[in-house]
Amino acid sequence: MREELLAIVERNSRIDLKELAVILGVEEIDVVNELAALEAEGIICGYHTMIDWEKTSIEKVSALIEVRVTPQRGQGFDKIAERIYKYPEVNSVYLISGGYDLLVTLEGKSLKQISGFVSDKLSTLDSVLSTATHFILKKYKDHGTILTKKYEDTREKVTP
């Protein structure tokens, strides 16, 4: 049940527990226990809401920043990654294989705020060799959800 449960709540964390039990074909108490276990094990780390900010009047700017760093002796990339992810404006930090080392995603109120963060905070860190900032112009799909188009049922209404 674990894999199926995770697949469902990853898509819809607001699903009613009773309904979850029904569609999984188990008792509600089992769902409650399994969710508690998943949270305790740190497998479920949060329940977030997907928001398409573009449809609001609130200004948000997001960027992807490629960061090249010098790994530190004995600590590899972890130490520098930690220094970066501690900034609250940083959304995610990934260690990446290939042409650069860390991919940092960032959300801010304006272009200026983000470039300020990159020039003042990020690139001044000792182990950071270089950064390349990419501003996101439009989100087509995020977290498996298509943002630009609504599902439309185009099937014939009744078919054998």
Partner: protein, 389 residues
């Protein structure tokens, strides 16, 4: 001017579902639970392969029986799923949907007056196709108390000295019934004893929610007397691509291929290239869709239990077949009133044979959110009927 029409065709009743379709399509805001095809789009990698084949200019006929590559993949797939071996060169025919395979299978096998056993409720085309092929349809009325499975006794009782072919439509549309290995072994004994042939329509084979689907061809002595029909519509959500296939003994498939060659030429080339991709890399998609269907199936069964609506638990396809006999209405009356009063379309069981009387086909090829709204309306409707009584 003389009558331009063939009596045989004129005498065929139009599909009962058509009538209902006309009513529903006039109601703009109706919610439908009447669809017999998946709600999922064809997985993108399969569509992409179709597009790619067009870009590469693969826009010509294939060989009559289908692309060699595809026939080989069909044989691998059938080996993998059912554990039986077919020869891609002589025992496989790629058709325009499973429907064409049913039609030409019957045409290849029937002489005038030979009888075809058709268990009902079942898909709408078996009876007219039998008639058009010159055969005589003999209906076996399946029963709710047997969970709409075909029993050896029911089969035995319907056999005459003219019986030639049994149509085996499992997993079943509209009931969702399946036949498990022991059920198949029991009827196989009767089939062998009476020297019958089987057209096994297994288009929903990938959509079972108990054990893995068992095909009649897995039962001893049955492969040599069975045409196994399957296709891409339900398993891979590819209804519009119109692609199916038949596997069977060389001597039958050869004759089917002849009809196909003259009537159709070959199945759509683009679809065939896409289908190769489906069989090679589509298992995960099927698994994901099966999981979603199963969740909806459980949701519906629970909803029926809560509203006290009688329904056997179906383990196949994407339909449930609840019983509405307690309301003292025909299936058609129920469906019409439900549509009028709640604007939800379900298909009366009688669209799939007279013995579907007292039942409704509800499709769960809809998102859970859609189902929830529709089922809420069904609960309200049922409640109202009960208080009125």
């Amino acid at each position: 001017m003389r009558n331009p029409l063939a009596d045989k065709v004129v005498e065929i009743k139009p599909s009962g579902i058509r009538k209902f379709f006309d009513i529903v399509s006039e109601m703009k805001d109706a919610i439908s639970l009447g669809v017999g095809e998946p709600d999922f789009d064809t997985p993108w990698h399969i569509r992409d392969e179709g597009i790619y084949s067009l870009e590469k200019g693969r826009t010509f006929y294939t060989s009559n029986s289908g692309l060699k590559e595809l026939k080989e993949e069909i044989c691998h797939y059938t080996k993998r799923k059912q554990g039986v071996t077919y020869d891609p060169d002589h025992e496989v025919l790629v058709t325009v949907g499973g429907s064409e395979a049913i039609d030409i299978g019957l045409r290849a096998m029937l002489n005038p007056g030979e009888e075809v056993l058709i268990p009902q409720p079942s898909y709408v085309s078996y009876e007219p196709c039998t008639v058009l092929a010159g055969g005589v349809p003999v209906i076996i009325e399946l029963k709710g108390e047997n969970e709409f499975r075909l029993t050896a006794q029911e089969l035995e009782d319907a056999i005459t000295d003219k019986t030639k072919v049994l149509i085996l439509p499992f997993p079943n549309n509209p009931t969702g019934a399946i036949m498990e290995r022991k059920d198949l072994e029991e009827i196989a004994e009767v089939i062998r004893r009476h020297d019958l042939f089987v057209i096994s329509d297994e288009i929903y084979a990938e959509l079972t929610y108990k054990e893995k689907h068992v095909s009649i061809v897995e039962i001893e002595g049955m492969q040599e007397r069975t045409i196994l029909i399957n296709g891409f519509s339900k398993a891979f959500a590819m209804t519009g691509w119109r692609l199916g296939y038949a596997c069977g003994p060389k001597e039958i498939v050869e004759q089917m291929t002849k009809i196909h060659q003259f009537a159709i030429m070959c199945a759509p080339t683009t679809s065939q290239y896409a289908a190769v991709e489906a069989l090679r890399n589509g298992d995960d998609d099927v698994q994901e869709m099966r999981m979603a269907y199963n969740q909806r199936r459980r949701y519906l069964m629970n909803a029926f239990r809560e509203m006290g609506l009688e329904c056997f638990e179906p383990f196949g396809a994407f339909y449930v077949f609840p019983c509405i006999k307690e309301f003292g209405m025909t299936s058609e009356e129920f469906a019409n009133r439900f549509l009028e009063e709640e604007k939800v379309a379900v298909v009366p069981g009688t669209a799939f044979g007279n013995c579907g009387e007292g039942y409704l086909r509800i499709s769960y090829a809809y998102s859970l959110d859609n189902l929830k709204i529709a089922i809420g309306k069904l609960a309200a409707f049922v409640e109202r009927l009960r208080t009125a009584k």
